[in-house]
Symmetry: C2
Subunit: 327 residues, 2 copies
């Protein structure tokens, strides 16, 4: 059994807990939190919740520690720190800072003799894999990534910061015409506006000026101004009833040419349709946690991304089994 | 530059030649054939065509030898034989015999200190990868693979063996309703007939009994009897004009559940739409040929499948580059 520890018990931490339950070769050993452990109720019976300050006392009980903090401030500190002591996996997703994060984590993981998998999930993660494989197979071609339909936490937060807004949720939606053009191999040049639209469900405070709120959202720089944005005003009850989930997904395409004169066209498409963004992210992390444990057992160390890990490490099946049944 | 040799100059061999042209870090060094080399005209200027009996004389000119023979009789002999002397890649696709082929090739590749990648292409190959990744990520779920729309060589051959048939081509087509049901997460149980239909374009010999030919095709055991089959009679001119290509493709799905009570559903879909089956297969092989050369340079040896090869080996980009641009 692979003994799993979780650091940080929010949506992703709970997702990891569920993923551990759904993987028969894994067991949850401990949850670590910055909160008062007595205040954190987890789903798994008989598993302890401890303060993060006590984490090193549990070092020998854990094969892999999953870091479930945020990319803005938690993971840049936590992953290098804990890679000294544990095999770790994180879901660091600030694309621009990945090289720096990789370097910091790699140094400490090597010093500690541990494997540290960073930027694990679906984007970065499964989408990255598909970009890499498709680029390697079709060197002459174009890449397209679309996100959605799904809830963007950052954009939902932005809506809620508008004066007069009580609550809100934002869906990122790929533009159907753009998907179709890419899928047909038309290799379109797409602007930001042509790729995605943004649909907002907003609960206004009583008496708030809805016209102003709508304009303020639609004209918000970076978040909405470059997109076609639809704003719906609904009640808090409707928001809770119809928009409680955290669905997401998206599409990765590569279209490319082969042949002596590049006369033949090909379309590679990978897509995800996810009821729960954090639970799917957690499921990817669980598979890479297994890989990390196996790689450490083989004596490897250092920082790894999904690019560095052979697919066979992800499964609990043997080489004979996967060759016989999945190849 | 990666120096490539090709053994067998049919559709796949020509595809490899094109793929080498489209990969800027590769160059074609030699083509080997069982035919009279003087009778084999290749596209690349200045590259020699040699009889296969002379292949070992060219050992030091070649970093990787691509074996482009058939799975029925060529590759079971060739891949183990040449893995003793070369880094090799094949596209062995007789699923049931892969374990045996792996064992034979592994032994000889290890003895020769070479890497041998077997069963490389899109199925087995890219489809296998997607089955493995998706199974690892969603351990609770169902797999579906659909093929087409595309030309099946085996079924086209079967048509041509029917008495009174002059020529013919068969397309395998996934049933749209089945695709939709899977994509919607309905987890259907599908019979052979419900998954694919078969469309045949047949050129009959003059005076042949078309009613009998159609019945004979539709009732042919293994090939057509378990499917809904459509037979069109056309002229040789129409066949040459409208059905000269070798398109193919297909879909790999995994639908699965996550959550404490498996309350959330997810759909992973990978699809290929290919103008040229052999050229795409060749493009996958070219990427794995690069991987094989890198692995051998790192001192590895033995038989490998797509499952055993970390994605980073496939690309000519550095680790820094792929982390910065593709992750």
């Amino acid at each position: 059994m692979i003994r799993v520890g979780i650091l940080g018990y929010g949506n992703l931490g709970r997702g990891i807990e569920c993923a551990v339950k759904n993987n028969s070769d894994m067991e949850l050993k401990a949850v670590f939190t910055r909160r008062n452990p007595a205040d954190v109720k987890i789903l798994t019976e008989g598993v302890g919740v401890y303060h993060v300050d006590d984490i090193l006392a549990h070092k020998d009980e854990i094969d892999v520690l999953i870091l479930c903090g945020g990319s803005a401030t938690d993971l840049p500190m936590q992953t290098p720190e804990y890679a000294k002591h544990f095999t770790v996996v994180d879901s660091f997703d600030t694309h621009a800072r990945i090289p720096e994060h990789f370097a910091n984590v790699d140094k400490n993981a090597k010093e500690g003799g541990n494997i540290a998998v960073i930027s694990c999930g679906w984007d970065p993660g499964m989408f990255s894999l598909n970009r890499l494989y498709a680029n390697a197979v079709l060197p002459q071609g174009n890449d397209y990534t679309f996100w959605g339909k799904g809830v963007s936490q950052g954009h939902s937060d932005a809506i809620r910061r508008v004066e007069g807004v009580k609550n809100g949720k934002q869906y990122t939606i790929p533009v159907e015409e753009a998907l179709t053009a890419v899928r047909n191999g038309e290799n379109p040049e797409l602007t930001t506006r042509q790729k995605h639209l943004r649909e907002c469900f907003v609960v206004a405070e009583e008496g708030a000026d809805k016209v102003r709120i709508e304009q303020e959202i639609k004209n918000m720089p970076n978040y909405f101004a470059d997109y076609d944005t639809i704003v719906h005003f609904i009640t808090e009850e409707e928001l809770q009833r119809d928009h409680a989930g955290i669905p997401h997904g998206g599409f990765v395409f590569r279209t490319g040419k082969t042949g002596w004169n590049q006369e033949n066209s090909h379309v590679i498409e990978y897509s995800l349709k996810l009821d729960s963004n954090p639970e799917f992210t957690a499921s990817v992390i669980a598979a890479y946690a297994r890989a990390a444990v196996k790689m450490k057992e083989e004596g490897m160390s250092g920082c790894k991304t999904v690019f560095d890990i052979a697919p066979a490490y992800l499964t609990s099946l043997t080489g004979d089994e996967i060759r016989a049944h999945l190849l």
